[in-house]
Symmetry: C2
Amino acid sequence: MSSAPTQRVNRLDRRKARTRAALIAAAQTIIAEGRTNVPILEITQAADVGMGSFYNHFETKEQLFDAAIDGVMDAYGDLLDQLTAAIEDPTEVFASSFRLTGRLHRKEPELSRVLLNNVLRLLSAEDGLAPRARRDIAAAVAAGQFDVEDVDVAVAMTAAALLALGQLFLGDRDRDVEETTDRVTEDLLRMFGVPRARARKVSRLPLPDLAAPRPAD
Amino acid sequence: MSSAPTQRVNRLDRRKARTRAALIAAAQTIIAEGRTNVPILEITQAADVGMGSFYNHFETKEQLFDAAIDGVMDAYGDLLDQLTAAIEDPTEVFASSFRLTGRLHRKEPELSRVLLNNVLRLLSAEDGLAPRARRDIAAAVAAGQFDVEDVDVAVAMTAAALLALGQLFLGDRDRDVEETTDRVTEDLLRMFGVPRARARKVSRLPLPDLAAPRPAD
DNA sequence: AGTGGTTCTGACGGATTCGTCATTTATGAC
DNA sequence: GTCATAAATGACGAATCCGTCAGAACCACT
């Protein structure tokens, strides 16, 4: 991106976007704490924004929460795409994404809790991560590496496995995240028809570093 | 007056239990509709019970909901045990339970929604279905039929697969429940180390009839 | 600096919900 | 039948929460 002083247009728009972002950010931390059902006033205070501002941007709390979760999902999805951009082999892309997300349950506990507290959304085909999983799986199928009859089932099983991992780590803090995640990855790959030896190898490849995802400001 | 034989136990206790049961039953249908957040008054009215009675039995709505969900889970778990009591082979017990529960997403949509709306509880190791799954899986492992290194992982994957099924059926009403459920069952079994041929066969065996579960009165 | 448009703000009235409590009803012992 | 106890009941005051609105603050443009 070139350094263009585009501040010419919209200072007003930027102000509006800023308070909207503040609301969303506040909502994200509140969701991460599992405490939906807070009064609107508490959200606006956490966002350091006037009470009335809420209604300038959203009509209901649910609307705000939806936007907040979408934001988290999209930001994380973008990060994943970025981290796996260098990998060409479809199976490896899938495996890497899954393994990174499994590790995220420990590295980013708040993000993990957002996932767990919004399971249906994660499983649902519309939002955030599911389309990316579908894309990756479809690519592997097209390349003749996965043998799955029904991509939707595969997507659902992937999401489900992710949740299962999160729940496992939540209930047993001493569990080895890398070890467990990689083994489940291997199981998943085998479930998708990848030969045993290759499944094992792919799920043990070195991983790119997972930095903290940065929600867009 | 004249006859006082088997009137042993307190009529008072029975009255108390009855209103408690009424509250729980009302809460169950409300939960099934996905509408937590109703005022207490609405629950007591649905239960045909005085407003004040609520506080004779519970301190918070969450307490009531917890009891209600536990009740549903236990009732369904008991039903499952009953239906699979005649089967001796551990793998078949596991597969039958899973397949029955998959079908339940269509046959008992309300129960299905209870599951989906309370995912974390279903996944959690403490309550309801998870202990039974653990028991069945452990039995299959002990019999040398499952090759899983970590029973907790297997339990979590089972629960997650169940949720994935529910979500799939919710999002695509035309999807074939039996077909999809049985295929996922087969995948799960193979993931647990069951040989391909046997996995396929076991996940296609005839099933006992799934009648509507009857919560204890 | 003036003007018109946009967003921000917090206080307020109205509505909802809570939890208590005095009273009533059902039960059991005598 | 009388008394004592446990549970049920719903009306009421307290508390919470919502959504609006009138004015302040901010911004672009001339």
